[in-house]
């Protein structure tokens, strides 16, 4: 066949493939969006019979309703956010020095330690948290916010330590040595040279810890019940019978993730352009 026709065929095939991939990725999310604005949706309609923002209003506490499971999610949302912020602060206070030490010094069994941080995420979650529940009950931590914070730190620590240590390792030693050669102490060097250069990576690490805490379910379920109710728990309890409500919560949980990922992308790209020599 002649060249222009072949070209049209190729381009069409590419477009079809692109559309299919997009459907695969966005499809499930589209379902979520549709459900969140559906008032009534029965088979055999492909789209809801009635749409509106009723469930949104219920979720945000702007309208009370007698429907089962329809409560304001604002308290749970605020609790999740507060826990996430506390978790980030404590985790980074541990992860930054730990990451620096593991990156810059020859720690005996350093590789083993890094591996240990990975362990909580490498095993099936239920067995871990069932056992943790026993321990926490003995310590009086079950059903408390403190207990949930500890669980979130445990689960997010791998992101904390692994990303910070990789970040610090990427800062060449000679930059720190140069600072010391002009009279800066180790501490001064850390705050004025190392930290500014590590900032994007440390920010990325914090964001991962934050998102992990916000979305954390299994551990919170075992340790937090019955008194601590975070947003994912509310999502779980409503997902069986109140699809609209669950969709609203799911979208609300999605927003921070998307926001922060875009932020990281932008910040990290600027750093590559800004570059290190």
């Amino acid at each position: 066949m002649n060249v222009p026709a072949k070209r049209i065929l190729v381009v069409t095939a590419e477009i079809v493939l692109l559309v299919l991939v997009l459907l695969l990725i966005i499809g499930p999310m589209m379902s979520l969006f549709i459900w969140s604005v559906a008032h009534r949706w029965y088979w055999p309609n492909t789209l809801p019979q009635e749409v509106g923002f009723e469930y949104w209003k219920q979720a945000l506490g702007m309208r009370t309703s007698l429907a089962i499971g329809a409560i304001s999610i604002i308290p749970a949302f605020l609790l999740s956010l507060t826990i996430a912020v506390v978790v980030v602060i404590i985790s980074m206070l541990i992860a930054i020095p730990a990451g620096y030490a593991l990156a810059k010094y020859r720690i005996p069994f350093g590789a083993v330690i890094m591996f240990l941080f990975l362990m909580p995420n490498a095993f099936p979650q239920q067995p871990i948290f069932v056992n943790l529940l026993r321990v926490f009950t003995r310590w009086g931590l079950s059903g408390t916010v403190q207990g949930v914070v500890l669980v979130h730190i445990l689960v997010g620590m791998v992101f904390g330590v692994w990303i910070t240590s990789a970040t610090f390792r990427s800062i060449p030693n000679y930059l720190e040595e140069a600072a010391r050669s002009v009279g800066a102490t180790r501490l001064y060097t850390f705050f004025h040279i190392t930290l500014p250069l590590a900032a994007p990576g440390l920010l990325a690490s914090s964001v991962f810890v934050f998102i992990t805490s916000l979305d954390e379910f299994t551990g919170t379920f075992f340790i937090g019940l019955p008194f601590v109710s975070t947003l994912p728990m509310t999502l779980y309890s409503s997902s069986g019978y109140n699809m609209q409500f669950a969709s609203v919560i799911a979208i609300i949980l999605l927003i921070p993730s998307i926001l922060f990922m875009t932020l990281i992308q932008r910040v990290l790209r600027a750093e590559y352009v800004g570059g290190m020599g």
Binding site: Y174, A178, R180, S181, V182, G183, T185, Y188, P196, G277
Partner: protein, 357 residues
């Protein structure tokens, strides 16, 4: 009093001695180069002086201060790194001001000193640029300015020109020598490039395997090498192996296995000793047919045949066969000789070094 004194420094890495019982005195205001191949210990010595490496044994004195136990930031040194080590998140001005701010100087004083230092390296006007906006040569100058702006007791340079292209390197050599003369600061320079060392140094310490093989002025090192290593490291040297058959004051006559009788300068050798004769290309004089008859019966005249001739622009690099040996020589482009051509050469006895094996 020497500006820097190293006393019996030893540094081991596992079983290997990177620095082996090294002692050195650097005089006030001189530029001393540590010269040697990779792995000879020159960088380790520099890192001991700068404080990033703790010697296992020995002491270091800067002036009258013992600095062996003092941390780097208190040693009052200026350090120039091979890869410049400029802080990418700070402007040129801030890079230079960093050390001055630590000293809590006022803004005006800082501005004055920074501008002065940049003028010294001829980079005035670039204060607000970031390192990534500068060329390699400019970055190196900023690194130098940053080290000098604090007026340290000693300046340490670790192969500062290795990352630059050949042309720039040659230029910067002269500039560094000039800046050193202008600032008058005691300097230790580390390099593996012997031409660089000879151009800028007051004295050179040739190092190998953690020890100083020879310490002296560039002229001494080049013309009176103490041993085969030093002779071989400086310039291109040919070595002919033989036995001493006669000693006449400071000259020795050496016979090689294939029957050549060569006269050169030797000291500390006895008759019958196994030696190497170091023959530098510039000590080889090509004789024209007319000179051939004049010099026929003089010592150190040999017949050679051209094995290889390479044109390198300003001269011709020859490989000449002399009996069973091949030696490197340089010749003028005007009187080029092709492969297979035979002629006579005369070796200048004063320039040949007879070295104990």
């Amino acid at each position: 009093m020497p500006a820097l004194r190293l006393e019996r420094i030893v540094k081991r890495y596992g079983k290997v001695k990177a620095v082996d019982d090294l002692s050195l005195k650097v005089q006030e205001g001189e530029l001393l180069t540590l010269l040697g191949p990779s792995g000879c210990g020159k960088t380790t010595v520099l890192r001991c002086v700068s404080g990033f490496v703790r010697p296992d044994d020995g002491q270091i004195y800067l002036g009258d201060r013992k600095i062996t136990e003092i941390p780097t930031e208190k040693r009052r040194i200026g350090l120039v790194f091979q890869n410049y080590a400029l802080w990418p998140h700070m402007t040129v001005f801030d890079n230079l001001a960093f050390g001055l701010q630590i000293k809590r100087l006022t803004k005006d004083v800082i501005k004055q000193k920074v501008e002065g230092s940049l003028a010294l390296v001829q980079l005035g006007g670039l204060e607000d640029r970031f390192p990534r906006q500068l060329s390699g040569g400019q970055q190196q100058r900023v690194a130098l300015a940053r080290a000098l702006v604090l007026e340290p007791d000693i300046l340490l340079l670790d192969e500062p020109l290795s990352n630059l292209d050949a042309l720039l390197r040659e230029q910067m050599r002269f500039e560094i020598a000039q800046i050193h003369k202008h600032a008058g600061i005691t300097t230790i320079y580390v390099t593996h490039d012997q031409t660089e060392a000879m151009v800028i140094s007051d004295r050179i310490a040739v190092m190998e395997k953690g020890r100083i093989m020879q310490l002296g002025s560039p002229l001494e090192i080049y013309s009176k090498p103490a041993n085969k290593f030093v002779a071989g490291f400086m310039g291109t040297t040919n070595f002919l192996h033989g036995k001493v058959v006669k000693i006449d004051k400071e000259y020795a006559v050496v016979t090689t296995e294939d029957g050549l009788a060569i006269t050169g300068r030797g000291h500390d050798i006895e008759k019958g000793a196994e030696v190497d004769v170091a023959i530098r290309p510039e000590s080889i004089k090509f004789l024209s047919p007319a000179e051939a008859t004049d010099y026929a019966n003089e010592p150190n005249v040999f017949e050679v045949e051209v094995a290889r001739a390479s044109y390198v622009g300003e001269l011709i690099d020859y490989q000449l066969r002399i009996k069973n040996h091949l030696i490197r020589a340089k010749g003028e482009v005007r009187v080029a000789r092709g492969v297979g051509v035979r002629f006579l050469i005369k070796l200048d006895a004063d320039q040949l070094a007879v070295l104990r094996r």
